[in-house]
Symmetry: C2
Subunit: 147 residues, 2 copies
Amino acid sequence: MTQPTAPADEASQEALPRQHRHYTIGELARMFEVTPRTIRFYEQEGLLAPRREGQKRIYREKDRVRLKLTLRGKRLGFSLAEIREVVTMYDAMPDGNARQLWRLLEILADKRDNLERQLEDIRLMRMEIDDVDHRAREVLRSLGHEA
Amino acid sequence: MTQPTAPADEASQEALPRQHRHYTIGELARMFEVTPRTIRFYEQEGLLAPRREGQKRIYREKDRVRLKLTLRGKRLGFSLAEIREVVTMYDAMPDGNARQLWRLLEILADKRDNLERQLEDIRLMRMEIDDVDHRAREVLRSLGHEA
DNA sequence: GACGAGGTTTACGTTAACGTAAAGTGCTTG
DNA sequence: CAAGCACTTTACGTTAACGTAAACCTCGTC
């Protein structure tokens, strides 16, 4: 796959009150099975904006969620630029002007179309995979192996 | 999007008996809204193997289907290498040895897992998009525009 | 026979999304 | 206090998937 091969995404955290916790870059990296480099890169691309404590980056709950959404977007084939567009507009929403908001709605509709298209693609590809699977098992059976 | 932005895929062909027709590279390119360069590149990567008529490439029905599947795979985030792996194994199936076939089943199971994961991602992202959409419309309403 | 529309090869260029290496900072632990 | 670990910045390297340009055939047609 080009996309990350879909790790747990939801880190199986201890049942700590997730609220108000903060994380180091290494913690987040392990949680989502990415490298710190990746996380820094996303910051550089304007997708994350952690606080600093001295020199070190401190990630809060909000940052964790953004990272989660970013990775999910990636798995669905969105580019970082697209993800940023939505995410930053979302943040600017409360005081956003009408033009911006309409633009946001436009983008969202677009993404939705895209998802629908992907659903159809998945449906079709599933059928084809099932088909190939069946044929392969047939051939195996004819070879005397139990499938 | 990183992926092709999902054109018609099924070219709205005339109701000609599709069987046994053949296409030039330009025709295929227009059908699927890609450039000839892309199609040649896929050939170079071992995904297509058109006949030659003199110097020119001649694509048959089978090639068209393979291109269609390739583009669908791409939209779902598969790399050309992955697509090739499945497609070539599929072609080698009838006389494939058992090892190869088991390997094929493995790959297929993997792809299926991937699709399931994507379905879930789509579900979640849909909800989030709907949520953002709602909020945006709220803000717009409070600004006195009709949404 | 010039020309334009399609096709061809060869080859270098480009972009996104990181990887990797080097060199430094700061804590805490034996 | 040295060692180790986790963090930092800077910067160059890498890969996939094409784009783009140049230079060349080969038709049908004006």
